[in-house]
Subunit: 345 residues, 2 copies
DNA sequence: ACACCATGCGCAAACGTTTGCATAACTGTG
DNA sequence: CACAGTTATGCAAACGTTTGCGCATGGTGT
């Protein structure tokens, strides 16, 4: 309630001019004498006038806000991803004078309904979507309403038609496989999640593609999937993998969190990394550097990606380019200690 | 521009009633016949009416937004702290129907000027402050304008007078010291930062208090400080500490990031942890669990704290309690492998 | 001298709500 | 049946801005 309340009216009155003139003078574009413009700017500065966002939004339809919908996944970020992502976006948006707002999805509700609500109440000029699923209803909804947005990740069907930036998990997994294959590994495993996230499919595709390309019938692949945030079954699945009679020697994982669990379970079972098994992660979270023997993984440069996404969205907001932009980012392989030659036996 | 645009007027017209009546029916408080209320709610639902935030904000002065000012500290979160903090706030605010927005501080500008601007343009109903410094100008500015806010951390002078939640670093450091002292350590070091953050002072005070209380003249304390985000001089300072003739056997650090650097430098110098030196961190970041030999540290429950801060702010917004709330959270000591008995010599 | 145009400014409407006040309709009482 | 009291509804102002339009003013061309 402590409305500071210096309005355009105050500025105008202090100069004996009309509100309209003051508004135009500050806008800077309209036909206004240089003289008055100078005076108005000066007066505004002296009085401490700051334009009211709500009023401006009401008439212009532009809020200066970009929204990000966050699932409330129990406590905090299971995903270290989000921290970098949010600051990257914030940095990118601030370059264009916009702010980022987060809205948490209440436990009961669906992400889609939250997005629908957001679009309708005019809270945001544009939206950012993270964690796109294969048939993400949010993407389809926003495209249909032609509401400006940018997504991290692709849906299956349409690769264009909207602004997206994605990590090229396919080629990354090919690279990882080739590395391990070159090290003599023939018995692989993939630790993945059960949810239908597009990146899961992409990486699996890459892996299968690489395997097919070797045309080597001795190559085998086991898969262990568990719900993304279910630590318990995750650990169980990995144990199953590591204690199987035909234990794999090379383990690819969908993201570092899974790889770290693999390292832990391996340690518990007395398996040495990388002598007995090689493990490769994805994302290069901070812990990857410190968990022994150092996790070989892919750096996705998520901060910069998010910043670029902000730019994509702002461009599509300003209406300059009506064509959607798309960008595929190639992650960088970070070699550490968790991979090595296949054990001989 | 794709303004969905179902307004109150649409709802009213579809029922042949006035806008005012429709508004009141949806507000739910006013004297309205149960009959019309039912009809209006139903019509609104059918049409897909969602109240326009900007218009509502303009007249009511309430935006439904709470702001958080983020320093853009190079790339991403140097601070794992912020990730948890942001989601905690988001969760807490969503319970009350508010959203959190982040505004990054542009490189040139000061945090204070951003805050001033925020307060004036009516973007937010309230503000959240993080990383409070000893004489934080933001706190003083907001108190003086009696703008609703809640801060994580205290300024030096006033401990009441505004809503704050703080981690009790003083008693935590006493606890840490006592633990190490009981293990026979007599030669201590504190690795800290150069910035005048209040929590730095609090923890140092705690440490000095604990030392004084032993009344043991053989206890010594060395201090190594470096700029918070300057990795290089940080490493140098720590090296200096570890290679000194009278190398300390127990090292307390202001936060886990510093502790991890200590562990790294110790490893590089061939020092064993905890046999040669004990190291204790603060914050219990995810990496703490995985960095060998496991970092003994304090868990601050920052997610829950942030969520509670959201509650404090919302209460002060609703004007229920005009008195500021304050809360001191005691961090929980997490025992891992990085501390042990003092080496004999 | 006239018409004409460019320039600089003001008036007032509009954006979609909320809300104080007036008014209409209804209820019960004498 | 009149009156007061209650209840439900409508009218219109207000929030602070932007912007289309019109109106002066003064300069330029013929």
């Amino acid at each position: 309630m402590p409305d500071s309340g210096k309005t355009l009216k105050d500025v105008a009155e202090s100069l004996g001019i009309s509100i309209a003139t003051a508004s135009r003078a500050l806008a800077g574009q309209e036909r206004i004498s240089l003289e008055t413009r100078r005076k108005v700017v000066q007066a505004a500065d002296r009085i401490g006038y700051v334009p009211n966002r709500a009023a401006r939004a009401l008439v212009s339809g532009q809020t200066g806000f970009v929204g990000l919908v966050l699932p409330t996944r129990g406590h905090g970020f299971e995903d270290p991803f989000l921290g970098e992502f949010v600051t990257g976006l914030g940095a990118g948006l601030s370059e264009h004078g916009s702010d980022l707002f987060l809205t948490a999805v209440p436990p009961g509700e669906s992400e889609l309904s939250v997005v629908e609500h957001l679009v309708r109440d005019g809270r945001a000029d544009g939206l950012v979507l993270a964690r796109v699923t294969e048939e993400d209803p949010r993407v389809n909804f926003l495209m249909q309403r032609s509401f400006p947005f940018v997504a991290h990740g692709r849906i299956l069907k349409t690769e264009a038609g909207y602004n997206w930036l994605d990590t090229d998990g396919r080629t990354a997994f090919i690279e990882a496989f080739d590395l391990l294959y070159a090290h003599g590994h023939r018995h692989f495993a993939l630790v993945t999640i059960s949810e239908p996230m597009t990146f899961r499919r992409q990486r699996l595709d890459g892996l299968n593609e690489a395997i097919a390309r070797t045309d080597d019938p001795t190559v085998r692949l086991a898969v262990a999937a568990s719900p993304r945030f279910d630590r318990e079954t995750r650990a169980k699945e990995i144990q199953r993998l590591l204690t199987a009679a035909d234990r794999p020697t090379a383990i690819l994982t969908l993201f570092d969190g899974l790889a770290i669990t693999v390292l832990q379970e391996a340690a518990r079972l007395g398996l040495r990394v990388p002598e007995d098994i090689s493990v490769i992660g994805f994302d290069n979270i901070p812990t990857a550097e410190h968990v022994p023997p150092g996790l070989t993984t892919f750096d996705t440069g998520i901060h910069d990606s998010a910043q670029e996404m902000a730019g994509m969205l702002m461009r599509s907001l300003s209406g300059h380019s009506s064509k959607p932009e798309t960008r595929l980012v190639h992650p960088r392989l970070v070699l550490r200690g968790s991979h090595g030659p296949a054990p001989k036996n």
